[in-house]
Symmetry: C2
Subunit: 255 residues, 2 copies
């Protein structure tokens, strides 16, 4: 009989979020679990790593019967510590999330959830990031858990090409209301940023980053289109950022 899969679980909303508890539940039937997750909220941390401060790692009893740790660093730090310090062998699968809020479109760059999955892909580990389009702390993760279980099972069975991970976003609502899976590309939607400028009690200015998410992409093959049409979006994601199509142009005008 094949060995039981070893599944590494992380996120960016911290070990205390409902999203990671839901992901742990969804993965339980699939194999042996190890959780290494941030001890504080690490949303928006992108692919940040901690190199100017030491990292702390602590055993956690957050999930009874499951080996779990909190880390003082970012989601990418969690993945590195898990692989190189915590786990005795390399995981069969890495899952990250379930994020409270969308990581479709350009959010893949800002997202700690997805950066953890991308770090898994860099390490050659089949990896999936899951996000639910609901920011609330007590969001309903039932449909997300069902899709997380299905997709993790498929990835364990089929494996992913080395260097590819999946960015999975799930619309709100009950599973029976969703239209199923759709394989997509990353949509071209951007943040129209703005800052909320305030004064602290001592007269100093400070700013909160806010913004409007604007979909400028008319394609029907994007994650944004899929989500707007009540599909679960699945974007195969990689980490070669080269603009290959522009190499010839650059050669023309630089050399």
């Amino acid at each position: 009989m094949a060995e039981s899969p070893l599944i590494l679980i992380t996120n960016d909303d911290s070990i205390k979020s409902k999203g990671i508890a839901s992901l742990v539940e969804a993965m339980k039937p699939l194999g042996e679990l190890v959780v290494v997750a941030p001890d504080t909220v690490q949303s928006g941390k992108g692919h940040a790593i901690t190199i100017h401060d030491p990292l702390r790692l602590s055993k956690s009893d957050q999930f009874p019967g499951i080996e779990a740790y909190t880390c003082s660093g970012t989601p990418v730090d969690c993945v590195k510590l898990a692989i190189y310090e915590v786990m005795k062998k390399r995981p069969t699968l890495l899952v990250s999330g379930i994020n409270h809020g969308s990581n479709a479109g350009i959010n893949v760059l800002y997202s700690g959830t997805m950066s953890a999955a991308v770090e898994g892909a860099i390490e050659g580990i089949p990896s999936i990031g899951f996000s639910l389009l609901d920011h609330s702390a007590d969001a309903d993760f039932d449909a997300s858990m069902s899709y997380a279980n299905k997709l993790a099972t498929l990835v364990i069975q089929n494996d992913l090409q080395k260097g590819v991970c999946l960015n999975v976003n799930i619309p709100r609502g009950k599973e029976e209301k969703l239209n199923g899976l759709k394989i997509c590309r990353q949509g071209r939607a951007y943040w129209e940023d703005s800052f909320d400028k305030r004064k602290d009690p001592f007269g100093g200015d400070y700013y909160w980053l806010t913004g409007e998410y604007t979909d400028t992409d008319k394609g029907e093959d994007t994650d944004l289109w899929a989500l707007a049409n009540n599909f679960v979006s699945v974007v195969p994601t990689q980490f070669d950022m080269t603009a290959h199509h522009f190499i010839a142009n650059l050669n023309d005008w630089i050399l």
Copy 2:
């Protein structure tokens, strides 16, 4: 006569680093400058943004005669604050760096310097990140300054395709010893991570992230090859992380 270019300058090594001072010097002849840079070292911050803490912005007299500000956040925060709060019109060009240390290969994902340039590209602003292959605080930036000036001039003259920025890495050494520019793709080189585990004075464990950079790419068209052969590497860089080549496979096994 055309208006003088408006150039936004940022980095990740902080406003006090020699690298950004060198970049300011290199850009002076090219237009009007505005500097918005982190007040502390933000190396390895990738595409992180600050969403759970307020941001501070302070006027700086770091560069006499030049409008400059420090920001309490990440390099990407600096770019957003510069564009949406500080600057009266959009910059003609964004330059980031000159970083103390290489941002070739996979480093593009971890690098605050390059994430600032990528953020510029997301905003549709022609953007370049510069990095010198020398981590030392007093590195010799002479050759880097010369190449920064040349490439910024070329980008102002030619413009870049929207959504593309440049990742420029410069080998150590005097300009006359370098072999010129080479347009490249991002090389497949990764960190073999390891952690240096230590005990604090109170008996607690902590970890420093360390590692070896390993080039697994045999191509002669990579930034890593170019740098090893004493060329200045120029990688056109974009932010669509979709693994387009894998969409068909995924459709086969998921649907």
